[in-house]
């Protein structure tokens, strides 16, 4: 088949306008498809994230501002068997609603952060700078790029003024949209005993015991205090928080599928036009001795090639876009990154090739089955 490649390529180049339009159209639609499915990838990654953590939240609450757990709950939770570590987190957001430009503050005990976030890598600044300033903040890479934030800078958002002690990067989905700061700052620098946390992150000694530990925490707090809690694995917590976005994300899936439909139509139309233009040519090839099957394969290869080229361009464009302009959608303080994973990109390319196959199948089959004499006329 390789020896026929120049013929296939020349046919594509011989009809430049048609090939160009088809490739561009396919590229744009594949870009769109990959873009909308990159949020699926981000969601998938977020929900697949480590499940060795529990999140303790106030019962029946959702918006971070409505969950106010007293700081002394930390010691209570720490005393539960199976709990390895506890981190109180005060969450302040500038916008509770779904947005592409949310600022999320996580206020934590400054000295504990380095212990519980060892995977964080600094692009500038360090832990010491963060700990030494009561208004110090560590800014995630994505939000720093989005808002043009630099180390040493001060800024105010959602009534919170911070000084940037460092910018970090992280492989954990959504974490690069977070600004870590001191829990006291987000509590308006009240006395320690008056501090509140939005939630507690509980690290487990044995992740298999998650349900048991969660039940124990809720039971103990309910037994002793008025403000009750609801503890669940982090994954389940995210699923709850993001439930409101699911409709939107579901809709974007349909957008992606319709894009695929349009690509099939675009490529099929292009192949049909090619086949109709080359009726006589195919008859000549059959006269020379090209079998109907060979002509089918030649046309299918052309179809797959044009679709694949469009798919490759679309894939490259998607990667370039998400690299140059990282995008995240946030709600209730939880962010989902648009991630073009290698798996997604591979699936996109595979899909392009498959589209070329199915779009070209019928016209290629018809071309291969054409009667020579009628076609020559």
């Amino acid at each position: 088949m390789l020896k026929f490649f120049p013929y296939i390529l020349k046919n594509l180049l011989g009809h430049r306008v048609r090939s160009f339009m088809t490739i561009i159209g396919t590229a744009l639609l594949m870009l769109l498809f990959l873009f909308v499915f990159s949020i699926q990838s981000g969601l998938h990654q977020l929900l697949l994230s480590q499940d060795d953590r529990l999140i303790v939240f106030q019962s029946y609450r959702f918006c971070p501002s409505t969950s106010q757990l007293p700081i002394f709950y930390e010691e209570v939770i720490r005393g539960i068997p199976g709990v390895k570590d506890v981190l109180p987190v005060k969450v302040v957001v500038n916008n509770c609603r779904a947005s592409l430009d949310t600022v999320v503050f996580h206020g934590v005990p400054a000295k504990s952060l380095s212990r519980v976030r060892p995977h964080v890598r600094f692009l500038s600044g360090d832990w010491i700078a963060f700990q030494n300033r009561t208004d110090g903040a560590l800014v995630g890479r994505r939000i720093a790029e989005r808002r043009g934030i630099k180390t040493g800078q001060s800024f105010t958002v959602a009534g919170v003024t911070v000084n940037v002690a460092g910018i970090f990067t992280s492989d954990v989905s959504g974490e690069e949209n977070v600004i870590y700061t001191h829990i006291e700052l987000l509590n308006n620098n009240q006395h320690h005993q008056d501090l509140h946390a939005t939630l507690y992150e509980v690290s487990l000694a044995d992740p298999q015991q998650a349900e048991k530990v969660a039940t124990a925490i809720d039971a103990k707090i309910k037994d002793r205090f008025e403000i009750t809690t609801e503890t669940k694995p982090q994954k389940a917590h995210f699923q709850n928080v993001l439930a409101d976005l699911m409709d939107l994300i579901g809709m974007t899936r349909w957008l992606g599928f319709v894009c695929i439909g349009v690509v099939v139509v675009l490529v099929a139309n292009s192949v049909i036009m090619a086949a109709q233009d080359r009726v006589k040519e195919h008859a000549v090839l059959q006269t020379i001795g090209f079998s109907g099957w060979r002509i089918l394969v030649l046309m299918l290869t052309e179809s797959i090639l044009i679709s694949l080229i469009g798919g490759i361009l679309g894939t490259l464009a998607c990667v370039a876009w998400l690299t140059w302009q990282p995008i995240s959608i946030s709600t209730e303080g939880v962010s989902v990154d648009f991630i073009a994973t290698p798996g997604l990109l591979g699936r996109g390319l595979g899909l392009s090739a498959f589209i070329g196959l199915i779009a070209g199948l019928i016209p290629a089959w018809q071309a291969g089955r054409a009667e020579i004499v009628n076609s020559l006329r």
Binding site: R18, M21, L28, T66, A98, D244, L245, V262, A268
Partner: protein, 406 residues
């Protein structure tokens, strides 16, 4: 046949109308495929425009232009975070009574407590979902919330709740789950559904309304509420009315940390939060439209390439290149128009009114006049755009070259 004159006094005959139509039927498979592709593109457009318009309209309509809300000064953009003393209700009634709408002698002042909380249903397989609860005073709320009306059941009594028409969508449940007579778990306790209300086109429809006093107790907020909503007399001077509110908040009771906002302005300001999302949406739509144009252009280029000699013959007969180009444009526009018509019909049938759950609320996809205008304009635009380059190519081809073409 249409006739028109050029500046040189010649007659410029256009090709017959049905020439374009018949040419579309010459290659039925191509025509149908292109039409199908365009239909999909325009349908997609309607889906997204409907979403954006639905969101925009629900934000527009949620804000009553006669209503002012008094809320916490620190929660100007997130009223869900607002917390003010419940004495503000009485203060507002006294302070602003002369400017407010009254029913008999009762001024339209509605204290409200808005809380986002998780709410469960009796079917435990369906886990608790985020709901927006609004505690209201039944004697007062309808004086202010004139968009709201009871469509089924009765107003709630003790431990009863009124559900909005889109509350089921918001909770990801079916209408049966929130049927009148059923129950919901709020703060771990069962509340009976006494009725259903409608507030067409507003975000209020996604809420659950409870008696204010009971909600305060349930949420352990005995002394505060979220906002006081007041309805001002529309015949009054709006700037003066807001002036009174500002004076009260800043000068009379600065200790309460209050602020007044026109409700319509508040919801308009929310629009800007969705600005990046809307821009992103339009960008994505632009990509789809360009792809659609590529498809249309492909078909029209093929139409030109396959008829070069035919055009030469037409020119020999006496038709101008302009007439031929116009005919090509006509073909493309007919195709696009048909596709747009089908897409519009499908969209109106399948998409109109579909409820979408979206943070802090739910709204219906809106294919209003603006949406249809946008969809149809883009659809027809694709037809024109798709034809221009090939028509230009046909326009530039001379008779001699055309006759030589194979």
């Amino acid at each position: 046949m249409l006739k028109s004159s050029t500046p040189y006094g010649e007659n410029m005959k256009l090709l017959p109308w049905d020439y374009g139509v018949r040419n579309l039927l010459r290659r039925p498979v191509r025509t149908v495929l292109t039409a199908f592709g365009l239909t999909l593109v325009v349908f997609l457009l309607f889906l997204v425009v409907g979403f954006v318009r639905g969101l925009e309209k629900s934000l527009e309509q949620s804000g009553d232009p006669e209503v002012v809300m008094i809320h916490n000064v620190n929660s100007a953009e997130n009223l869900e975070n607002s917390s003010i003393s419940d004495e503000v209700t009485a203060l507002a009634r006294t302070e602003f009574a002369p400017q407010l709408i009254k029913h008999r002698t009762v001024p339209a002042v509605s204290p409200e407590l808005t809380i986002a909380s998780r709410v469960g249903v009796s079917d435990e397989t369906k886990g608790p979902q985020l709901a927006v609860l609004r505690g209201v005073d039944w004697q007062k709320v309808f004086l202010v919330r004139r968009q709201v009306f009871l469509m089924e059941g009765t107003l709630p009594k003790q431990r009863e709740v009124l559900v909005g028409r889109l509350a089921a969508t918001k909770l990801g449940l079916s209408m049966n789950d929130l049927a009148v007579g059923g129950s919901l778990l709020i703060e771990g306790k069962p509340w009976k559904i006494s009725g259903r209300f409608a507030a067409p086109g507003t975000l209020l429809e996604a809420e659950l309304w409870l008696p204010l006093d009971e909600l305060k107790v349930a949420m352990k907020r005995p002394n505060d509420i979220s906002i006081v909503a007041m309805r001002f007399d529309p015949s009054g001077d709006r700037s003066k009315q807001m002036g009174f509110v500002d004076y009260f908040c800043r000068n009379r009771r600065p200790d309460l940390e209050l602020m007044g906002s026109w409700e319509a302005a508040y919801y308009s300001s929310l629009q800007k939060h969705y600005g990046p999302m809307r821009s992103m949406t339009w960008l994505l739509l632009g990509l789809v439209a360009v792809a659609g144009a590529c498809g249309a252009m492909n078909t029209m280029y093929a139409a030109v390439a396959g008829r070069v000699r035919e055009f030469a013959a037409l020119q020999s007969i006496g038709f101008s290149r302009r007439a031929i180009a116009a005919s090509l444009l006509q073909e493309s526009v007919i195709l696009a128009a048909l596709s747009t018509l089908v897409a519009t019909g499908l969209a109106l049938f399948l998409l109109q009114g579909i409820a979408v759950r979206f943070t802090m609320g739910a709204f219906s996809l809106q294919l209003d006049r603006t949406a249809i205008l946008i969809g149809c304009s883009v659809g027809l635009g694709l037809g024109i755009l798709g034809a221009i380059p090939p028509a230009w190519r046909a326009f530039r081809l001379s008779i001699v070259d055309a006759l030589k073409a194979v």
